[in-house]
Symmetry: C2
C-alpha cells in the first residue's frame, strides 16, 4: 500500500473532481497529478492557465463550486475597468483570480519554470497533492472552425462551443519537452488514472507532449480511464462535440478509442452498462459504477473504487 | 487670446491641481500639459506611472480627492490576494487602478509609445487637456540614502521619506530623448507654467531630459513657476526635505534657485510676502496671492490669475 504510486492525468473541472476524490481518499499520499497547460492563453498581457488554476483552487477549497471554475467570493472590478478602457472582456477573470495571473506572469517573465510557479501557487493555497506540468514549454490547443483557427478559449468561452469543429491541433506540442518531474512520475507509476476530462483537448493535449506516451508505455502501469460521458452526454464542457468532430462515437466506445493504444480499463457509468460487451470484446477491463461526482463523498467513493479495481486487476495480471 | 499657447509642467498632486485649474479656466483650449514619468516603476510586473495617472484621474474626475491620488470608490481585492501570495504590497494599487497598469503594460509590451498610451487612457477618462510625456524612454528618479540607492517610490511610499537624502539622480535622463510632441509644444509656447510640484523630483526630472531645457530657452516663452511652499512648508510630498538635501533653503528663495536660469516670475503665497524684496533683487517678477488650492474655484482662480499676470508682464516686455 505504502509503495503504490498513482498518477492522475487531469483536465479542468472533471480532473479537479477526480483530484479531490483522491485527496480525500486513503491514496492521497500515493498520488501526484499531471495537469493540462494547453488551454493556457494570454489575456491583457497576463498568462492565464485555466486548468491548472482549477486544480489548485479546487484542492485549496478556493473554487467557486457553483460554476466549477474561478474563485469563491470573487469580485470583478479590474475586468469592468478593462472593459471601460475598451478591452474585450469575454474571458471572465475575477480580481482574486487576476492576482494569480499577475503573480504567474511576473515569475514567467523572470524566467521561473512554470512547474515551479504552479508549485508555489499550490503551496500558497495549502494544496498538498503535487501538481506537475506535462511541459514547461508553450503548447496551445487550437480549433479549426469556419471562422478559421481559434484558440481553445476563443472557441470554448467566446464562441460557447457553437462553431462546428473541423480539426484540432496542439500547437507547439511537437517541439515541447516533457518536464523531468512528469516523466519521472509517470515512469514509476503503478496506476495511471485518466480523469473524466475531455479526451481530446485536455488529456489529448497532455499525451501530445513528446515523451509522455513513451513514459506511460515504459512504466508498465495499469492505465484506467474514467469516461466523462454519462448516457452519451458530458457533465461539463464540449467533449461530446469534439468526439463527434474527431469522428468518434459519443459513448464509451468513442472514449475507449481515444486511449485504445495503452488503456487497460475503462470506468463507465451505470447508465452506459450496455456498452460492456463491446468493451470486453476489445480486451479492456470495465468497471461499471455511478460516475457522477457531486459531493466530496461521491468523489472519494468513486476514486477509491477506481484505485481498488485497478489494484485488483493489476495483481491478477501480475499473478 | 485664441493664439495664446500655454504649457504646464506638472508633477503629481500639485501638478494635477494646477491642471484642473487651467482646465476649468478660459485658457483650457490654449493649454497642454507635460507630465513627469520619472517616478514610474514596475510593481508585480506591471508598469505604474503615478504622476501621469494622477493627472488623468484628476482631470477625468476619477481621483480619490481625499488622498489626492488613486481612484475614487476603489477596492483592493487583487492587492490583498497578491499579499496572500507572499508579495510585498507596500505600494497601494487598487483594483480600478490596476486595470490602468495592466492596460499600460500590455501596450508597452506591444511596443506602443508611452505617449500614445497616456493619450488613450486620457481619452478613455474623458480628459480633453492634452497630456504629453517629456520622453518615451525610461527615466527613473533614484534617491541615495544610508540604506543605499532607492527608487523614488521606495523612498516616498515604502520609507515614507524618513531616510536622509544625500543625492538624487535621474537614471537614464542623459540618454533619454525628448518626445517630438513635448519639444514642439514647448517651442511654440507663449507661457510656460511650472506647477506647484516638487522642483527636484517632479519638475527637475522633466527638465533633466535632454532637449527639454533647450526647447524652453528657444521658445522665448514667459516662464512662471508657482511655489509649492506656503510658509516654508509643502502641502503634500517631500519637497521640503529634498530642497534641504539639495542645499537649498526651504522657502521661495530655494524654489527660485531651482529655476533661476530660465525663470521670469515666481508665484508665492501671501504667507511668504517677506521674500518679495529678495526675489525682486534677483530680477524676477513676483505674484503674491493665495496659492492654496482646495476647491475647483480656488484652482481656477489661481491659475487664471497666474496666466493673466504672465500675459501682462509678457506684453510689457514685448512693448
Amino acid at each position: 500500500m505504502s509503495e503504490l504510486t498513482i498518477t492522475l492525468l487531469a483536465g479542468g473541472v472533471g480532473g479537479a473532481k477526480a483530484a479531490e476524490g483522491l485527496a480525500a481518499s486513503q491514496y492521497a499520499n500515493a498520488t501526484q497529478i499531471i495537469g493540462n497547460v494547453a488551454d493556457d492563453e494570454e489575456f491583457h498581457g497576463l498568462w492565464v492557465s485555466p486548468d491548472i488554476d482549477t486544480l489548485i483552487y479546487s484542492l485549496g477549497d478556493q473554487i467557486d463550486r457553483q460554476q466549477g471554475w474561478g474563485r469563491k467570493n470573487e469580485t470583478h472590478q479590474v475586468l469592468s475597468e478593462l472593459n471601460a478602457l475598451g478591452k474585450e472582456t469575454w474571458m471572465t477573470l475575477g480580481d482574486l483570480d487576476l492576482a494569480t495571473h499577475i503573480y504567474r506572469t511576473e515569475l514567467r517573465k523572470q524566467g521561473v519554470r512554470p512547474t515551479y510557479i504552479a508549485q508555489r501557487l499550490a503551496t500558497r493555497h495549502g494544496v498538498t497533492l503535487p501538481i506537475l506540468l506535462p511541459t514547461d514549454d508553450v503548447v496551445q490547443t487550437r480549433v479549426q472552425t469556419k471562422q478559421g483557427w481559434l484558440s481553445f478559449q476563443e472557441y470554448f468561452v467566446r464562441e460557447r462551443c457553437q462553431p462546428e469543429v473541423s480539426a484540432i491541433e496542439y500547437s507547439g506540442a511537437n517541439i515541447a519537452k516533457a518536464t523531468p518531474e512528469a516523466l519521472s512520475q509517470l515512469t514509476k507509476s503503478d496506476v495511471i488514472v485518466i480523469a473524466p476530462s475531455n479526451p481530446i483537448v485536455s488529456i489529448g493535449a497532455i499525451l501530445a507532449v513528446s515523451g509522455i506516451q513513451e513514459a506511460i508505455a515504459k512504466s508498465g502501469a495499469y492505465v484506467i480511464a474514467i469516461s466523462p460521458l454519462i448516457g452519451g452526454k458530458t457533465i461539463k464542457g464540449p467533449a461530446d462535440k469534439m468526439l463527434e468532430s474527431a469522428g468518434k462515437s459519443i459513448d464509451s466506445k468513442g472514449i475507449y478509442q481515444c486511449y485504445s493504444s495503452f488503456l487497460h480499463a475503462l470506468v463507465i457509468d451505470d447508465a452506459d452498462r450496455n456498452d460492456v460487451p463491446w468493451l470486453h470484446d476489445q480486451g479492456v477491463d470495465v468497471l461499471v459504477t455511478n460516475t457522477l461526482m457531486k459531493s466530496t463523498q461521491d468523489k472519494q467513493r468513486l476514486m477509491t473504487k477506481v484505485i481498488e479495481f485497478a489494484q485488483s486487476r493489476r495483481n491478477l495480471r501480475a499473478a
